[in-house]
Structures are given as structure tokens and as C-alpha cells.
Amino acid sequence: MKHNFIFHLGRFITWIRQVFSKPENMRMYWKETMRQMNDIGIGSLIIVILISTFMGAVMAVQISYQLGGQLIPKYYVGYLVRDITIIELAPTITCLVLAGKVGSNMAAEIGGMRQKEHIDAMEIMGVNTSAFLVMPKIFAAVCVVPLLVAVAALVSIGGAFAASVPTGLFTAAEYVEGIRSFFEPYNVFMMFFKSVVFGFILSAISCYQGYFVTGGSIELGKASTTAVVMSNIAILIADYFIAVLLTQ
């Protein structure tokens, strides 16, 4: 197991250097990056909105429940929802979901190309397949994932409002006051920093799993699953280290 991990880590490091080599044709890479941005961004918008709405709603209800009957002012719910969303839940939950949706898709797409000899065909044409197939995906993910996370944060804060104010947990004025209290712009930086790192992790690990797939459809399925599992683990580990690094 240890040897296996070291083997994959070594191969990943060697491979990622090829991924970031000079493009043969900038226009083709740009076109592919735009396609990937559309697939990742527009393609994931609905699921991100759906998840973050309920994420905010549940958070507001549970924080209200936990703070209920105490001397803490009600506007603190808005404040806590905002900061928990921005610092932790929007980047982490969104990227865990994206690892499942986008990551598995990337692994399956590249793995399918490997199995159908598309990658061999491109190699024989002289294309650097590691770069052409992977660099646009990573670049697109690093650009688009932070935008999706920003949407998730906004929608989550809105979801908390929609679930709590009409049901009388607190008033709109209390919630808005909480949202506007003790705001630290640095937390937004932390959110975007996490998003960029997580976007890189989920796309690079998923592409790696797809690129080196061998065998048939069962192996492709396994590679897709491994891509999601490994991305999720790596995102959570990175989350811890970023938290330590940026909050000291």
C-alpha cells in the first residue's frame, strides 16, 4: 500500500510537469479551455445552487435551535451563517460535490479516450496529450470553481434567509444586521484561496486517474470512483492545512 502510494505520487509529479509544458497551438488550447469552462461552470450551476440553498437553510435552522433560549442576540444567526458559509461550507462542500460531478466526468472522459485509442492517435499525430487533454481542464477548474463557490456562498446566505425569516425564527432586519456585522474581507480571500486549491486538486487527480487507466469498462468505472474518493480525501486534507496556514 505504501509502495503503491509512493509510485502514484512519483508518477503524478512526473506527469504534472508534462501537463504544464508549452502548448503546441494556443488557439486550440484556448478553445478547449472555453469548452471546459462551460462544462464545469454552466453544467454544475444547478446542482451547486440546489445544494447551497439547503446548506444555508439547514444551517440557519440549526444555529437558531442551538442559540435558542440563550442570551445571545438573534442577529448572531446571520453573522454565524455568513462566516461559516464563507470560510468553510461554501468552498468545501461545493468542491466535494464538484469532485463527484466534474471529477468523475473528467476521469471517465479521458479514460474513455485512452481505451478507444484516441490518446494514442493524438500522440502519433505529435500532440502532447498530457498537456492538451489535461491543462485546459485544470485551468478551467481553477478559474470556474471559485466562481461557483462564490455563487454557492451567496445562495447559501439567501437560502438561510428564505428558510428562517418566513417561518418566524428571526426577523429580516435581525438577519440582515447579522450579515453586516463583524465582516472580515480576509475571510473572502480565504474562501477564494481554498476554491483555487480545491479546483486544482479535483481536476488534477481526476485527470490523472483517467489518463493512466488500463483495461476495460470495469477498470474505467473503478478509475472514476477512485478519482472521486481520492479528490475528496485530498480536498479535506488540504482544507485542514489551509485552515492552519491562513488562520495562524
Binding site: Q18, H118, V127
Partner: protein
């Protein structure tokens, strides 16, 4: 010209190719034949650099291909066209985009020049009205022809074909064989075909190499196939009772 010198290949403990020495001539269709599992595809993949040989050297004209770095290999590959057994056409692209892909990647031609070249290549392989279609909308034979059109779009010096007739009926196989042979002669390129189709052997086999259990068992041309006394060759070529009768008739004549 492509030359393989003392090529051996092993996967772990399993030896697949043993000391293969071959020369593939320019302007000729060079066939690699042999039973399934003999090592033909591995040899072809070593020749194009998809697998590194365990030992031995591949020469592209005067260039030692096996000693090149990745960038130099890519430079050589821009002179290589390849037709895959499963065609390897990109499913999500139209036929036009498939054939245009190498030009989009490596040339600075205008859109019109590219379209003209695509049309020329399609015309060369006798296909019409397929520009906007997707590979899944074409028959197996048509897909092979598109594969050939894509392989020749950058005017390669070397053409590789892996089982070009697999899955095709005898008549379509003949058309594909003739097409590959004509392009080879017309463009004066080095063509290497990996096949176990005996019709191809007898139709277009300018040079034939028989691989048996990872070793070079016989070399010759299509005329020599019928007269050779090599037992492995005879066992491979005249495997069916029908062809054994053909050989007997040939001997009587």
C-alpha cells in the same frame, strides 16, 4: 525507410518479441503478418514509439528514433500517419473536424485552405457528403476511409496501419487495401501494415515479414509466399482446407 535492429520486448517476465531485425522500404507496402498474439501489434507500437523496446534500435531514415527525447519524437511523429484497428476517430467531432484536427494543431493554414485539404483527402478516399456527419453515422468501411484521410492529411512520410481490414467484408477490404497501396506508391511513402488477412497479403504484399511467437520467422514478397518451403509460413497461410486445395492446384500447374 524504417529499420528495426535487434528489437526485443518483454512485459515483466513475459517475452513478447525476440531479436527482430527488419527493414521497411520507401514506396512499398510492408506487411507484418502472424497469428493473433504473435507480437505484431506490439512491434507496430514499438515502431511508432508508443512502447519503448526492452532492447534494440529503431531508425527513421538516418535518425535513431529510440534515442530521441520526447520533443524530438513529436517532431518525427508529425511525419507519421496511422490508421488504427478501431479507427480511433474522435466521436464528439464531425468528420471534417476529425480530419482537420492535425492541421488545426500544427499548421497556420487559413480556414479555406484547411477545408480544401479536407475535401481533397476525402475525395482521395472516395467519400462524399460526409463532412458534417459524425463517425457513428458512418459504416465500418467508411470510418476506415476517414481514418486514412486523417492519416494522410499532413502528407506523412510514414504510414502505419493496424489491422486495416478487421471487421470489414472482403469487397470493402479490397478497396481499403488498394487505397493504401495506391497512396503509398503515389506519395512514395513508407507504409507498414499489420494484418492477418490473407487477401491483403496476396494483393498488396510488396514486402512481407512473418512474426511467429515473437520471432521473425520468414521474410519475402507475395509471389514467394506460394513457393516458400518455410513450414511456419505454410502453416499460417494455408491454415484452411480451402487454401490447402489452392496450393495443391498451384503445385500441379
Amino acid at each position: 525507410m524504417i529499420r528495426a535492429e535487434h528489437i526485443s520486448k518483454s512485459f515483466g517476465d513475459q517475452s513478447v518479441l525476440n531479436d527482430i531485425n527488419l527493414e521497411f522500404e520507401v514506396g512499398k507496402t510492408n506487411l507484418i503478418i502472424g497469428r493473433s498474439g504473435a507480437g505484431k501489434t506490439v512491434l507496430l507500437k514499438i515502431l511508432v514509439g508508443l512502447y519503448p523496446p526492452t532492447s534494440g534500435t529503431i531508425w527513421y531514415d538516418d535518425v535513431n528514433f529510440t534515442a530521441l527525447d520526447k520533443k524530438s519524437i513529436r517532431d518525427i511523429r508529425m511525419k507519421v500517419g496511422m490508421l488504427f484497428q478501431g479507427t480511433a476517430l474522435f466521436d464528439s467531432m464531425t468528420i471534417e473536424e476529425n480530419i482537420r484536427f492535425p492541421m488545426d494543431m500544427f499548421t497556420s493554414k487559413t480556414a479555406k485552405e484547411k477545408l480544401d485539404r479536407v475535401n481533397y483527402c476525402l475525395e482521395r478516399v472516395s467519400l462524399e457528403n460526409v463532412l458534417k456527419k459524425y463517425p457513428s453515422q458512418l459504416s465500418g468501411g467508411m470510418q476506415k476511409r476517414v481514418g486514412i484521410a486523417r492519416a494522410i492529411v499532413l502528407e506523412p512520410k510514414y504510414l502505419f496501419c493496424d489491422e486495416p481490414n478487421s471487421g470489414l467484408d472482403p469487397k470493402t477490404s479490397l478497396v481499403i487495401d488498394e487505397l493504401i497501396h495506391d497512396i503509398t506508391v503515389e506519395k512514395n511513402i513508407t507504409t507498414i501494415i499489420n494484418t492477418h488477412d490473407m487477401n491483403s497479403v496476396m494483393e498488396i504484399g510488396d514486402n512481407i515479414a512473418l512474426i511467429h511467437e515473437g520471432r521473425l520467422a520468414w521474410e519475402g514478397n507475395k509471389e514467394e509466399v506460394l513457393t516458400s518451403k518455410n513450414e511456419i509460413l505454410q502453416g499460417f497461410v494455408f491454415a484452411s482446407p480451402f487454401l490447402q486445395k489452392v496450393r495443391a492446384l498451384h503445385a500441379e500447374e
